[in-house]
Amino acid sequence: MNSVPTGSSPAYRPGVSGWSGRTIVAVMVAVFVLFFAVPIVWLLLATTKSARGLSVGNPFAFGSFGELSTNWSRLFGFQDGAVTTWMTNSALYAVGALVITLIVSIPAGYALALTRFRFRRLLLVLTLVVMLIPNTALVLPIFLELNAVGLIGSPLSVILPMSFFPFGVYLTYIYFSTSIPRDLLAAARIDGCREIQVFTRIALPLAAPIVALVAFFSFVQNWNNFFLPFVMLPSSDGYPVQVGLTSLLASTPAFNPSSAGGQSVQLPTLALATVVSVLPVLIVFLVSQRFLVAGMTAGGTKE
């Protein structure tokens, strides 16, 4: 990484002819492309290999579809289909929380942006503050709270905390306060719309882009959440797949020699588990690629 030119790097000083600077930049970009891409490419290839092929063969060769399907059936045969249970749980938690988030955040963002009520300012500040603290900071306090009311182990103990998504409210708030012309709302009122109709008939149909954005962030965050379900759900039947991965890891002799036995997991199977565990998020990423790398910074695109 010594080739990384910082602004003051002597190798890239003014006066150095263009091509040498360009070479340094090209090499640096290439190094980072490899750094970011190689693990993913390798992981995908690893799922097509046998345990032996993985350790002796060319790391970047394709194995075979036969091995892939063997790994697949081994993975889903693990502990009588535990992986299927975990994936179902993940879907339930992520989608359940997502639905509540949308039902709660969109009206809240609208109310914060376009109406007036007591505590509006307080709620806005609270939203900002909670949004800016890492979401893991409140996990143990929430555990202690839910433990006191006896909710631990229930799906609600992860769905409800995850559905509290201040960032979604903030995004909606920004959207409604900048993108909806007030005249439009005023016109609707003059035409005889009641306040609730202003929201349901005018604002809501215009909110489609922000609903998609909030849904994206909420889903990805919920699906990838580890600490919260890890703390809240003591039984394997309730694990989402992210936590389930730890069970698989514990059964992999390559990492945990004490686990050798009938239910042991081979490395390619674990690789496949890693891929499967992020597949929904990966698909969402690929589908939303356009708006992720361009639109996420919309307003900043003045090329």
Partner: protein
Amino acid sequence: MTVVDRTAQAAAAVTGRAAGRPPATRDNVLSYGLISGYAVLTLSFGLLPALYAVYLAFTDATGGFAGLANFSKVVGDFRFWPAVSHVALYLVIWLVALVALVTVLAVVVHAIRVRWLSRTLRFVFYLPGALAGASSVLLWLFVLDPTASPVGGLLRLLGFESFVQVIVPGNLPVIFAVIAFWTGAGGWIVIMYGALNNISAEVIEAARVDGANAVQIAWRIQLPMLRKWISYMGIMSLAAGTQLFVEPQLLSQASNAVVPNDYSLNQLAYQYAFQQNDFNGAAAISLLLLVVALALSAVFVTRGGLFERE
């Protein structure tokens, strides 16, 4: 979770555009209806748990007032300061790498004129963000195990023959920093790229006419204009980094406890709650971490200027 909070990243993308404009319509009952669900969630999972943690941290197991006893107990715990130093060392390495490399990469990607190339690069950098949490740690376990690793040759070149040699305690802060960088950097590069687009072309053009080369433009114009975003990234990442949990937790499990299960502060809090059944001690550690996070976010809200209208 040391994965840079995607929430925070996207917040950076949208903030700075508007906030605080006074609402247009009159006070009405409907507002309370619209806001009620969110208000309940904010109370239940924002305010109440924080207050309950405060209560637990200042009481003992029987509910009596304990003063600072819980705090002095956890701070005096022989595992506390090692955990603090582990997290601190990791943070230093990670933040320096993050600030330096993200800024440089964003400037470089921004300077590429070929559109498809620039887009593809941003996407390649961003994609690992899909593998957050346990999945990315698992992937890096493979990469760090010389017997399976795609870069096994590189690891052997560095003198590592086995997984256990790779994960000796001295290497861990670097390893965690690499994992966090791999998952989180791309999102920040995209943010910085957007911020660079916000610098008006005339300013850059004027500098070029005055004879500034690419490096001078980056150093004298782009960097100062990025300062706000860089400090945002630094503060958010610092706050997120103090929460280190999933990486050492999984590594501890994968290494048969070569990596201790009380490596980070959050792990220690977890140990207090689940191994020692000492919720008061766990609350005390959580509260310390929460105060750090709150202080950082407060600095940002009050001094950062991102939430004022531009």
